[in-house]
């Protein structure tokens, strides 16, 4: 109980720090007034402009000191008011923008990670049970190939081959289509994200499996007459999941804002694209909201990882 309270405390502290750093950096490095009004903000000799400037300062609390503005923004943020966009006349509000973009990115992420796990786990089991065989060596080369190819290159190649030449997958993402149609449109982008991820997961899981297979308890299992396959699935796999689970979680967090290249190439209006557009326009409320979502996701993922650890290993539970 005490442990979980401490965890909760640290998590809140972490989120506050991230928000303060992001808020501070954006306001110090940029000029919010300019972002809201454009060149008008610099035209202080024109009374018309001054009027606009005062109105904007009033609306966005820009004349308050930075910590106060941060506190005001934070107060709004935690109550669900993410503010208005600085650009495009403030429409739609940041909250609507996020709730439109986030589900797409989450769907892409879930599809990619499920695919990656479905590829990586059997692949690792297959190679770890015959280390240094021809199959294993070929797979090592393949996995490093997937890890080494930059995602934009892989995306372009897959799109060209499978969408344009072979027409297996649709070319575009259509926001008005049904859920199943959109899911199919997302399949190729998901594969693009899944392949390099699967290669990394396979490397880690294979190494851990090979280490586990040297353990004495594996010999015990064999001496009981357990089949090779059951030794692998029932005895070796569970003990070998720790690095895989950790990297899987970190990658999940990273993909929330990090799928931007793939979103761009496959024309999916997701969170990754939103954050690029917002940064280019220095649209503070949008950037801050996305930063906070990513930070929050990492906090939650961290908790989930700890929970999974304790589910895997009873020794973690008791300590």
């Amino acid at each position: 109980m005490r442990y979980w309270l401490t965890r909760l405390g640290t998590s809140v502290l972490l989120l506050l720090t991230v928000s303060a750093l992001a808020f501070g950096a954006m306001n110090i490095l940029g000029d919010p007034l300019f972002n809201i009004l454009g060149p008008v903000a610099l035209d202080v000799d024109n009374p018309e402009s001054v009027e606009l400037i005062q109105a904007a300062e009033e609306q966005y609390n820009l004349d308050d000191p930075l910590p106060i503005r941060w506190a005001l923004w934070l107060g709004d943020f935690v109550t669900g008011d993410f503010g208005v966009q600085f650009s495009e006349d403030g429409e739609p509000p940041v909250r609507d923008l996020i709730s439109e973009r986030l589900p797409r990115t989450l769907q892409l992420l879930v599809m990619a990670q499920v695919l990656a796990a479905l590829i990586a786990i059997p692949w690792a089991l297959w190679t770890a049970s015959r280390p240094n065989s021809k199959v294993d060596r070929a797979s090592t080369i393949t996995s490093f190939l997937f890890i080494a190819i930059p995602s934009f290159a892989l995306a372009v190649m897959l799109k060209w081959a499978l969408s344009i030449k072979l027409s297996i997958f649709p070319l575009a993402y259509v926001t008005n289509d049904t859920f199943w149609e959109r899911s199919f449109q997302m399949l190729l982008p998901a594969i693009t994200l899944a392949l390099p991820a699967a290669a990394i997961y396979q490397r880690l899981l294979r190494t851990d499996l090979i280490t586990t297979l040297q353990e004495d308890f594996i010999l015990t299992a064999r001496s009981k007459g357990v089949s090779r396959r059951s030794v692998l699935f029932k005895h070796a796999l569970r003990s070998s999941l720790f690095s895989f689970v950790t990297i899987f979680a970190i990658n999940t967090g990273a993909l929330i804002g990090g799928a931007l290249v793939v979103e761009q190439i496959f024309l999916i209006p997701g969170l990754g694209r939103a954050i690029v557009e917002a940064i280019l326009r220095e649209d503070f409320p949008v950037v801050l909201a996305i930063v906070m979502i990513i930070a929050f996701a990492f906090v939650i993922l961290n908790l989930i990882v700890d929970l999974i650890y304790s589910l895997i290993d009873p020794r973690v539970r008791s300590s």
Binding site: T220, K224, V226, H235
Partner: protein, 363 residues
């Protein structure tokens, strides 16, 4: 798929015209970058149903590899030759797929370190019931009841609660009892115990050996006890086989061996057991030198380079296994303990005050 019939290894337990397990000229070699390691080199032995055999030797003498070679539990790279007959069936060339039906069912093994040998992520109960479901097709409740009975057999208190515990929640001695319960689960005819007490403290050691012995009698099971400790085999085995450098160098009924050992190596092993009536701070007797390199073993007798009694012949010619007065007693030595050459050399060494034959040598 896992039932015993499909294993097509026919085991006739009823009448045994030959001993239960017959090992003939068994060799196990491991190819390495340095050359071929001859971990086991032409070992022959046999064991009858219900008997117990101790395999004794230093680290690196090949005793663990021998026991795993007999059972067939070796890494894929190992190369075995010779013959292992179990209940009249040749099992050396059986593929792992068929050996699986013997492992756990007819032959089982208890390992040295009970913490590492139990799956840390699996409840005790599941680890015991696993072979029961596999080999005896027991359903869950039957397997569970059997597991409780097995835990009681090896004297584990509160057996029912133990089923839901994990290995880290038990003490070392309890874990080894669990290992024994797992090994005994399907009523094997041969139990291999590979240094079962080495990782345990002394008071627990004898309890574990007693449990193994008790179960051997109750189940009319053969036991092969692998150990570096002659003291352990003394009270718990019918026969002893002494290994050195991958070879069997002496084999005898336990009583005969202790009364009338022939190999100077066996004698040296005996001398290295600390004795209670020695004054305190007596330096422990050791065997000088190192076990032989199994890639390039010495010519002649493998023990010769370390043997105080070695003569020219020992370095040139390898001694064959010879039969002693007792027809069950074999030894591989040109000048065994008690031979005129041995006695002459012994007197010489004593006169010179050689530390290798000092007072501790008198048994």
């Amino acid at each position: 798929m896992t039932s015993r019939e499909t294993g097509s290894v026919q085991i006739s337990r009823a009448e045994a015209t030959e001993p239960l397990l017959v090992v003939d000229n068994l060799s196990t070699h491991f190819p390495t970058e340095r050359g071929v390691v001859r971990a086991v080199d032409g070992v022959s032995l046999s064991i009858k149903r219900g008997e117990s055999l101790g395999i004794v030797g230093e680290s690196g003498s090949g005793k663990t590899v021998l026991s795993r070679s007999i059972m067939g539990l070796l890494p894929a790279a190992a190369i075995r030759s010779g013959s292992v007959r179990f209940a009249g069936t040749e099992i050396l060339d059986l593929p792992a797929k068929r050996m699986r039906h013997l492992w756990g069912a007819e032959m089982a093994m208890v390992f040295q370190n009970p913490l590492n040998s139990l799956n840390p992520l699996m409840k005790i109960g599941k680890q015991i019931t696993e072979p029961l479901k596999l080999h005896l097709n027991m359903n869950r409740s039957h397997a569970k009841a059997t597991a409780v009975r097995l835990l009681k057999d090896v004297h584990i208190p509160e057996a029912e609660q133990r089923l839901n515990q994990y290995p880290h929640e038990l003490s070392g001695g309890m874990r080894q009892r669990v290992m024994i319960a797992i090994a005994l689960a399907c009523g094997p005819t041969v139990l291999f115990a590979d240094e079962p007490t080495t990782a345990l403290d002394v008071t627990v050691q004898s309890q574990i050996l007693d449990v193994i012995n008790e179960q051997r009698t109750d189940r009319n099971m053969s036991v092969i006890l692998v150990t570096h400790d002659l003291g352990v085999v003394a009270g718990h085995t019918d026969h002893v086989a002494v290994m050195y450098g991958g070879k069997l160098v002496e084999r005898a009924p336990t009583r005969t061996l202790f009364a009338n050992m022939k190999m100077p190596y066996t004698k040296s092993l005996m001398r290295s057991i600390p004795k209670l009536d020695n004054p305190s701070h007596t330096r422990l007797a050791t065997i000088p030198g190192r076990p032989p390199d199994l890639v390039n073993p010495p010519d002649g007798c493998r023990f010769a380079p370390r043997c105080a009694y070695a003569q020219d012949r020992c370095h040139d010619e390898e001694p064959p296994l010879a039969v002693a007065d007792d027809p069950d007693h074999y030894y591989a030595c040109w000048y065994p303990v008690g031979s005129p050459e041995f006695e002459a050399r012994d007197a010489e060494l004593r006169a010179a005050g050689d530390p290798r034959v000092d007072a501790g040598a008198t048994i």
